[in-house]
């Protein structure tokens, strides 16, 4: 009887084994060469980036010197050490420096653009290589070609990590570019700092004591509201409303007296009433495990006061409203941190001198919704002197936080409304709830509470009228 073959069953061809072996060897070499090339290119790019940052730092120093000169000019003008003509001449003399700085910043933007293009090109090359490898990996699925599959997978992983590094670098360049634009805006605005004084265009005068009081008032009220439990915080990122009954992560900060007097020694900077740009931060963290492990931030609610501390230290007052470039320079790093940590950051910024018209127009968004900067950050601005609050009414992310940032307590708002409604009620027989809401532009629940409070004081009655709704009637 013929013995049945155990291995040599002739189930099929081996195919060109020699060619397959050669391909495997070639792939190994190619993969190694490609990895070496990518590694070299990446190192080269990083070196170029380091060079760029040195240039940026030098330029920044020049900019700081220029800004200090402008600040000194403004201070001398406000103190009466200079007359208007002298100030104009000094301002004209600085035009050359300003143009030079703007040109240098422009060149730097060009450099960054080239770098971004290079990174994009490199990313595209990596994508192509990744696609080729993925095809090869899927094509050589038999056990015989496991080696090619492993090589492809190894290289794909390496490409992934290099891509990640390049993308992060790209992001930092984009942020760097945004900062440069802010600097150029500041340069463009720098002339108006002095011109506004010459043309006496200041709308508001806020003394150092008032600024400090507004700051303390704003932060204290915010803290009180944040400790009126339960505090509800909505995260648009995961669509969850967190109910807080105790804050585990909370802190205060301020800029200290580090920024005092712009380096001028003859001014009393130890004045305890200087505003310090104080801030208060509350964070909701979630741990992967209940009792151990590091908490991951889910929501950060931050309120801080923003003033030109240099002016308060040098002059004892400030008249400047906060400009768009200043707002951007404050919000920028917060966006970066929130996006890196992937948490939602609700930000309320208060200014005692108020906000420039373009800033208000920006934050209110208008039809274009231009105040939407990042999916992780929502902003509202507070005029801590007038109590007005500015935000985008079409942005639901910030709406649930407005009451925490609003510089008035509910009771104060109700009392204010009571007075306004009483005045309205003097000359009429009844008041329609909807019309009052529209006229006084206050939250519905505040008006409703004001109606009932007035009813308790026997000034009128609250009644529901068919077809009209809630009315306040005699």
């Amino acid at each position: 009887m013929v013995k049945e073959p155990l291995f040599f069953k002739d189930n099929g061809d081996m195919g060109d084994v020699y060619a397959a072996a050669k391909q495997i060897i070639d792939e190994t070499h190619l993969s190694r060469d490609e990895r070496a090339r990518i590694s070299n290119v990446t190192e080269e790019r990083f070196n170029q980036l380091t060079g760029k940052f040195i240039e940026y730092d030098t330029l920044d120093e020049e900019n700081k010197r220029y800004q200090k000169t402008i600040h000194d000019l403004r201070v001398r003008l406000l103190k009466g050490d200079l007359n208007e003509d002298e100030a104009k001449k000094a301002l004209d003399a600085l035009a050359g420096d300003r143009d030079e700085l703007q040109k240098k910043y422009g060149d730097l933007v060009g450099l960054l653009d080239t770098q971004l293009k290079n990174i994009d090109l490199e990313l595209a090359t990596l994508e192509t290589r990744e696609q080729t490898l993925a095809r090869e990996r899927d094509q050589y699925h038999s056990a015989l070609h496991l080696e090619v599959t492993w090589i492809a997978e190894g290289e794909i992983k390496e490409i992934e990590s290099i891509k990640e590094i390049l993308k992060k670098k790209r992001q930092s360049l984009v942020e760097e570019k945004a900062l440069i634009f802010i600097k150029t805006d500041e340069l463009a605005e720098s002339v108006s700092l002095v011109e506004d004084v010459i043309g006496k265009r200041s709308k508001r005068y806020v003394s150092v004591d008032d600024a400090h009081l507004h700051e303390l008032n704003f932060i204290a009220r915010f803290d009180t509201k944040m400790h009126t439990y339960p505090v509800k915080c909505f995260s648009p990122l995961d669509g969850t409303t967190y109910i807080v009954t105790e804050w585990k992560s909370h802190y205060h900060y301020d800029s200290g007296t580090g920024e005092k007097a712009g380096g001028l020694d003859d001014i009393d900077t130890d004045n305890g009433n200087l505003p310090l740009n104080m801030g208060s931060v509350y964070a909701i963290e979630e741990k992967a495990f209940t009792y151990f492990g590091k908490g991951k931030q889910k929501i950060v609610i931050e309120a801080f006061s923003y003033c030109n501390t240099k002016d308060y230290a040098d002059l004892g007052f400030d008249t400047r409203m906060v400009t768009l470039s200043a707002v951007m320079s404050v919000i920028g790093p917060n966006i970066q941190r929130a996006e890196e940590g992937n948490y939602f950051h609700a930000l309320g910024i208060a200014s005692p001198t108020g906000w420039d018209d373009p800033v208000i127009a920006w934050v209110q968004g208008g039809d274009l919704g231009s105040s939407y900067l990042s999916r992780n950050v929502a902003v509202c601005l507070i005029d801590s002197a007038s109590g007005e609050i500015y935000y985008n009414p079409h942005d639901p992310r910030i709406q649930s936080y407005i009451d925490y940032f609003r510089p008035e307590f509910d009771l104060e708002r109700i009392n204010k409304m009571k007075k306004l409604i009483s005045d309205e009620f003097l000359n009429v027989e009844y008041l329609e709830f909807e019309k009052i809401v529209e006229k006084l532009k206050e939250d519905r629940f505040i008006i409703e509470k004001a109606f009932y409070a007035l009813e308790r004081e026997k000034i009128g009655r609250v009644k529901f009228a068919e077809g009209v709704g809630l009315v306040f009637i005699r």
């Binding site: 291995f7 040599f8 189930n11 099929g12 081996m14 072996a21 060897i25 056990a143």
Partner: protein, 166 residues
């Protein structure tokens, strides 16, 4: 064209201490290259011996004969490599060797290592296919492997000639 430095880097990863520039390491480098060849050829021979045993068990005498022929060629080649009189080459006696000679030596080594890698991988693949029962064209593949081995032998002889005639 592949740069000399990348070839040296490539060989350096396969052969420890690969360097022909210094006199003291020249002879060791040559020995290491030959040891690497012998080691890998023995590995291939071991794989093919396994295949031959399986063919013998399944009564495939023709296949056994072809593999036997290939194994004999490998054995002879191994002896040739081990007994090659490289130590007598003038290249190993002088203090400095010119760059051209070094480049040639590196080039020969690269060719040999590439042939060696393909032979080792091919014998691996043949063994894998046999385990899967895909054997209908095994004789053609064994002949191809033998041909590759002959090319490698020629390269090795050319290398020896070059070394001895310098």
């Amino acid at each position: 064209m592949v740069g000399a430095s990348s070839v040296i880097e490539f060989l350096g990863k396969l052969i420890p201490g690969y360097d022909y520039r210094a006199k003291k390491s020249r002879l060791n480098t040559d020995r290491s290259v030959r040891e690497k060849m012998v080691r890998d050829l023995k590995k291939s021979a071991s794989n093919l011996k396994e295949v031959s045993d399986l063919a013998y068990r399944d009564g495939k005498r023709e296949i056994v004969d072809h593999i036997k022929d290939l194994l004999k060629t490998i054995d002879l080649f191994i002896v040739e490599i081990e007994d090659a009189p490289f130590g007598q080459s003038p290249l190993f006696k002088v203090d400095t060797v010119n760059d051209d000679d070094i480049d040639h030596m590196i080039e020969f080594d690269r060719d040999l290592v590439e042939h060696l890698q393909i032979i080792t991988k091919t014998s691996d693949l043949i063994y894998d296919h046999v385990l899967k029962g895909e054997t209908s064209d095994i004789i053609i593949q064994v002949r191809k492997l033998k041909k590759e081995l002959e090319v490698m032998k020629n390269t090795f002889s050319d290398r020896l000639d070059y070394f001895m005639k310098r």
